[in-house]
């Protein structure tokens, strides 16, 4: 059952989806539910024998379109609400062992087309306020299926982190003659240059001055495009090329396929005007601080919300830039 409970101390919704305890956990490759269904083989999520890119509703969703009223009524301080939304899985390729880093620029560009289409289609639903596109990669992140895929959560509210970011951008815009916070950050990074990892014609990848993870990279659109759907054809190609370079660099960094969380921040679909505050960008959070050491979100981060980072962005950016250059030569 899907339900939301309000946390009045942090002023945010918490989603409950107890059926997710039963989801498939790291099956052997021959029983991968995300591979195409082969003749005589067991039926997977995809009935066809072959596919390009597939999107389907998650079998174990955190949110569902027909979520009923919660049986637990909550109280005045702690209301509940139906966990109404959509959770989709996006299959990047039919090849079980592929990764985004190893895919062609054209396939990544096609994926961008699909992401943009999902943003528009899900965002048009009247109960969806935020379309959150993301990928969890690697067992270190807690993935339960290795087949290359991402996910989309269409939330009935603007989730806390994007909301905080949008509020900061709105405040900045109001106090600075309408200027976009993200455009100014990008300008500062270009001017300094030390944290820039890779540049395309329309996008820039950099480790932000205030990165929370040693190898956290943000990929910003140069133009103040509110969402992925607002990108033109050339911008989509450029984004595909830059993502490919960055991901190849990530894999070259320590000599193995680097785990990461990838998320997209963009305009909410709540009907509001987010021009000048929402600036489409992608954020990557790899958990590795070295080849064999992970950053755990322990006491200070989990309990206090205060990140402590072991390496300076200027130094990690230098290392990662070198990895990108060597991997793409």
């Amino acid at each position: 059952l899907n339900q939301l409970r309000w946390d009045p101390t942090l002023k945010e919704w918490v989603a409950y989806a107890t059926h997710r305890q039963d989801r498939t956990f790291l099956p052997p490759a021959e029983y991968c539910p995300l591979c195409p269904t082969k003749p005589g083989g067991f039926p997977t999520e995809v009935p066809r024998e072959s596919y390009d890119i597939v999107v389907f509703e998650n079998k174990f969703p955190s949110l569902t379109p027909d979520a009923p009223e919660p049986e637990e009524p909550g109280g005045p301080l702690t209301p509940t609400a139906p966990g109404r939304g959509v959770c989709e899985v996006v299959l990047y390729s039919e090849e079980h062992a592929a990764t985004l880093a190893g895919m062609s620029e054209r396939r990544i560009r096609n994926l961008i087309e699909v992401w943009a289409d999902r943003y528009e289609e899900l965002g048009a639903l009247d109960y969806v306020e935020y379309v959150f596109i993301f990928e969890n990669k690697g067992e270190a992140i807690g993935v339960t299926l290795h087949h290359p895929h991402g996910q989309i959560y269409a939330y009935p509210f603007i989730p806390p982190r994007p909301k905080k970011e949008l509020q900061a951008a709105r405040t900045y815009r109001d106090e600075n003659e309408g200027r976009c916070l993200h455009c100014e950050i990008l300008s500062q990074e270009h001017e300094d240059g030390r944290r820039v990892v890779a540049k395309g014609e329309y996008f820039t990848a950099f480790i932000p001055f205030y990165a929370h993870f040693p190898y956290e990279v943000h990929v910003y659109a140069r133009r103040c495009a509110p969402s992925i759907a607002d990108l033109g054809a050339e911008e989509r190609w450029d984004l595909a090329r830059l993502l490919k370079r960055l991901l190849m660099g990530y894999d070259a960094l320590f000599g193995f396929s680097l785990p990461y969380v990838m998320v997209m921040h963009q305009a909410p679909t709540d009907g509001g005007n987010h021009e000048g505050t929402a600036h489409f960008h992608i954020e990557f959070y790899p958990p590795n601080r070295t080849a064999d050491k992970l950053k755990y979100l322990a006491g200070s981060v989990t309990g206090a919300g205060a990140f402590v980072v072991d390496a300076l962005p200027e130094e990690t950016a230098w290392t990662l830039r070198d990895a990108v250059e060597s991997a793409t030569q």
Partner: protein
């Protein structure tokens, strides 16, 4: 409190499909309903040799 989902007024306004999504490249977008009621969408692209070359 934030507006709860049941109080959502349904005021989303989006550009018409095909306007904001400049440069769509798929040749077919096919929607199917699975036995358990979930939908599945196939996006097929007209990329010659792409299936053979992927992963390279």
């Amino acid at each position: 409190l934030d507006r709860s989902p049941e109080n959502h007024t349904g005021h989303n306004e989006h550009p018409e499909q095909g306007v904001a999504s400049e440069g769509k490249t798929w040749v077919k977008k096919e929607r199917e309903i699975k036995e358990d009621g979930r939908y599945l969408i196939y996006y097929d692209f007209d990329d010659e040799g792409e299936r053979e070359s992927r992963g390279s």
